[in-house]
Amino acid sequence: MRHLLNRVAATLPVMAVVAVLVFLLIHLSPGDPAALIAGDTASADDIARLHAALGLDRPLWSQFLLWAGRLAQGDLGTSIFTHVPVSRLLAQRVEPTLSIALLTMTLAVAASIPLGVLAAHMAGRWVDRLVMLFAVLAFSVPVFLVGYLLIYGFAITLGWLPVQGYVPLSKGVGPWLSHLILPCVNLSLVYTALLTRMTRATVLDVLHEDHIRTARAKGLGVVAVLGHALRCAAIPIVTTIGVGIAFLIGGVVVTETVFAIPGIGRLVIDSVQRHDYPVIQSVLLLSAGLYVLVNLLIDLSYRLFDPRIRA
């Protein structure tokens, strides 16, 4: 318990540093949001007035303190483009992105762990080579290409699934899932490839350890022995899964674009094009926070998988 509190406390300075970096990144990058909002016909006076209204005429440290103070109270600010509170914007975008991230990873794990273990068991034989060939292909073919092929095949030609768009979970599991299948299968290919390779490599290492010989000497069958090996190989695999989820939550621009899904990735791209800095700052901060959280969870899970870390 004390360990847990220590670990959580250790994330606070990390988040503080991230907040400063995010702020500096946005405010030191070229481009004037006021000029963009005011449009091509605006005069210098108009822009100056906008600067004052947005607080952009103040010194940088003062702007930062203002932002950080509001942030501490849970106020993420308001979009300077749509004038909608950022928290509401994010809330709309989180569900699609989270749905994609979790379903993608579920598919990837379900496919890659059996494949990786099978490849390790058959290392060097044709089954292994076939699995590795698949992994290389799945990893190297561009996501958007596979995405359009999937749409063409399953949505347009066969008509089994909707072409694009997103339906919230509140409108029913069926429609929600049918809109998610293609983008998630598309995205999961990359992670399946990555996880398959990782599983194969670590399980193969464990299979050469002495205790596997002991397990076989006591009469365990192939499946049970591979189960033993997988347990010992859990840490690198869980780490890869966790980092993958964190990455997916940060937004998947290409897939969201191909399948027209209003997620975090699209929000970031739109906001950057509009210099909508309150939104960009909040999204970056949210992504970083989730990343730190997922890393914390991965770290804590090690103690579950390896008793030697508990000692």
Binding site: H211, K218, G219, R231
Partner: protein
Amino acid sequence: MTVPSPQADQAGRPPLLDIRDLRTHFDTPDGTVRSVDGVSYRLEARETLGIVGESGCGKSVTALSVLRLLPTPPARFAGGEIRFQGTDLLGLSEREMRRIRGNRISMIFQEPMTSLNPVLTVGRQIAEAVTLHQKIGRRQAWQRAVEMLRLVQIADPERRAGEYPHQMSGGMRQRVMIALALACHPDLLIADEPTTALDVTIQAQILELLRDLQAKLGMGIVMITHDLGVVAECCDRVVVMYAGRKVEEASVADLFERPLHPYTRALMASMPSLQGRGGRLAEIPGMVPAPQELGTGCAFAPRCPLATERCRRETPDFTGAATGHGVACFEAAPARHQPVVLHRHAGARP
């Protein structure tokens, strides 16, 4: 075989383990490695047979062949039989073999530090073997695991069963390995250098424990070792192996009193003794030839002080098995029993 074997007991039961002319070869990119090349030995119930030889002589490969734990390929059984209570193990399916492993034949290994699964409690590892081979529930299997830990004299076995290997010392882990191996009361235990990785005081305790357990449970033991001290301590008979072949076999008393093969004598000369006057121990010059380098003739000839032209040309047969003390050497007549003076440099290989 229609003729009953001379060593079968009165009831006509076949020996516990009867290895006949076993050839275990490995197919490698550099050619076939004949790690075990025509080894025969047998073991009766309740007997302890020592298998002695340097690293790479094929003693462990023979043992792993018995349990069929070698990966095939590259390993290949090129000939021979391994009869366990009359059944040829080489003819069994993998499924039938699994019912024997850990149940009727068990094995303990040299490295107690790495031979247990680091992420499972020792109790679970033992209980897993029990539930695999016997129709009992998980709770009873756990009870059996605790009993086994008590049997191998681990203090506070209820608590220890719930611990992980890294919480135990090397000697204690080897006790756990023994508990695991004996959990299903096997008829045959193969111990592959069980004490090599342990401190001397712990070695003695482990050998003592194995002797006690043999008296209690009545299994036959194949004790693989490079340490003649271990052989003297706990074996009934000994097989000396060199380069994939058996070079001498005798009762322990016979072997120590009247070693016939020059290799056996050299091994004994290299053994430190408390009665000795100190000074430099004899060493056997040269190295065990790599199996793929073996040519014709006796494999020991290049290192042997008694080697003749014939030794380099022909491989000696194993003779004298019927007398209980056999040897594979042309020059091993008792008349030649004299202090062995070893060449400093091994002669050219054929």
